[in-house]
């Protein structure tokens, strides 16, 4: 029996969960294409697990191809763990309180074998007060920021993260909050950073969000991180909800106070739909509660075509309190520094007109009747 490639990848994402298949159907297309999809979705580890447990039968050459892709994924993950030891260690030594998000933290703390949870970058979160110093330290360590901030001070007020890369292509996302846009602004990072847990890696002790913060991070990433949702991000939600020591009362309180109800509900419904895992009883009320239409509209800014047309950036206005701050945000978006424009369109003359066309198109679309 066979499945199409995306159905196959979805089955792989559910390997080992109660709703997962005991025997996986092989994809109907070429195995090359299936392995490519598994690598892109970062599911090679779960696929290898399925082979070792006898849930997925492959020919010798198919197994070799899968193992080769998985070895590449693991080399990339290990390389970023080296980055964590070097960069995370340097930030700690400089007195910066830094929390490891997702990647190595999820792999080592919530999966039985970290090989099941590949990652291809490193996400570190610091307090807004440590933001500038951390960016400078990264530059000193050879990591160049890919996009300058639109205007001075934008990062600390409205920003989510800045991507830095070294000469070897290794990537560090330095976070101030968990996600771009309105939901990222409603989250209180200082509360997440006040409840950290330790884990050890490479002979050093690092900090991560505690289990409750990690589940919230996983929900935010599964619902708002990618469109369509990343299967591994959806698996993270299930994996943490089932295996972590979540303080469900605090999870519900944070969800309500940070207006993440629609996001958490979306994440758990996606787990239910794709991985066939029922919504866990402790979050049942959160998932089934009615949510204000405004929050549902904001969620839709992260999905489909709206996301591709700067939906989250424009929806951010809804979460910025006060006219002056809203004006500051709009000014930074519409009249960013020339350096920012040049980085957005390398090799082209910096143009405000091109930039203004984005919100103009968005406004035009949103005014159509029925949209």
């Amino acid at each position: 029996m066979t499945a199409d490639a995306s159905a196959f990848a979805t089955e792989v994402a559910a390997v080992g969960l109660a709703g997962g298949s005991s025997v996986l159907r092989r994809p109907a297309g070429t195995w090359d294409a299936a392995v490519e999809l598994l690598a892109r979705e970062r599911l090679t580890g779960l696929a290898v697990e399925a082979v070792l447990e006898g849930r997925l039968e492959l020919s010798a050459s198919q197994a070799d191809e899968l193992l080769a892709a998985h070895q590449q994924a693991m080399a990339r993950a290990l390389d970023h763990e080296r980055v964590l030891v070097a960069v995370g260690g340097a930030l700690q030594d400089a007195g910066v309180g830094v929390a490891v998000l997702k990647g190595p933290a999820f792999a080592h703390c919530f999966y039985r074998d970290p090989a099941a949870r590949p990652f291809a970058d490193l996400d570190l979160m610091v307090a807004a007060d440590d933001w500038r110093r951390s960016c400078t330290l990264l530059e000193d360590l050879g990591y160049r920021r890919l996009q300058p901030e639109p205007r001075a001070g934008f990062d600390e007020r409205f920003g989510k993260a800045a991507t830095h890369r070294d000469a070897a292509g290794r990537t560090v996302d330095l976070h101030r909050t968990l996600v771009v846009g309105p939901f990222g602004l409603w989250i209180r990072p200082e509360e997440l950073l006040a409840r950290l847990q330790a884990f050890e890696l490479g002979g050093r002790r690092f900090l991560r969000l505690d289990d409750t913060g990690s589940l919230l991070n996983a929900c935010v990433h599964a619902s708002l991180g990618w469109w369509p949702p990343s299967l591994l991000a959806v698996r993270d939600v299930a994996q943490i909800a089932l295996n972590a020591d979540v303080d469900w009362g605090r999870f519900a309180a944070w969800t309500e106070r940070w207006r993440l109800g629609v996001v958490v509900a979306d994440a758990f419904r996606t787990v239910e739909r794709l991985l066939r895992l029922p919504v866990p009883p402790p979050v049942h009320r959160l998932v089934t509660a009615g949510r204000p239409p405004r929050e549902r509209r904001l969620l839709s800014a992260y999905q489909g075509q709206t996301r591709a047309h700067s939906g989250p950036a424009l929806a951010t206005l809804a979460a910025i309190p006060g006219v002056a701050a809203k004006a500051g945000y709009l000014r930074a978006l519409l009249l960013p520094d020339r350096r920012f424009l040049a980085a957005r369109a390398p090799g082209q003359p910096s143009s405000y007109l091109r930039r203004w066309a984005i919100p103009a198109r968005w406004l035009t679309r949103s005014r159509r009747p029925g949209t």
Binding site: V48, V51, L52, A63, L67, H70, Q71, M74, A75, A77, L78, D79, E81, R82, V85, A86, D113, P114, A115, E200, L201, G202, G203, R204
Partner: protein, 92 residues
């Protein structure tokens, strides 16, 4: 006579890749790959073991006799120790 016991060095980063194990030294660039009995030996070295203990364990695992694989286990431990990938449990 003092019999050294070995365990994985705490600073080594590693992953299972099927039956193989990929190792990365934090300060290095490349990777080491342990295949077959090497991978199984690495998993066993989560807790400290002498070469003889490891030999007996691997012999049982691979349905072999300790006499046949003892020399190979010795060389594997020597090589891993020389690269700093395992440490002697009594080194502190």
């Amino acid at each position: 006579m003092h019999v050294p016991r070995y365990r994985r060095s705490a600073h080594v980063l590693w992953r299972n890749v099927g039956h193989e194990v990929v190792l990365a030294s934090p300060s290095g660039e490349g990777f080491e790959v342990l295949t077959g009995a090497g991978g199984q030996a690495w998993r066993a070295l989560e807790t400290a073991r002498s070469a003889a203990e490891l030999t007996v364990e691997l012999a049982a695992w691979f349905a072999n006799t300790p006499a046949r694989i003892g020399a190979e286990v010795d060389s594997l431990l020597t090589a891993l120790h020389a690269r700093g990938l395992v440490e002697r449990a009594d080194d502190g």
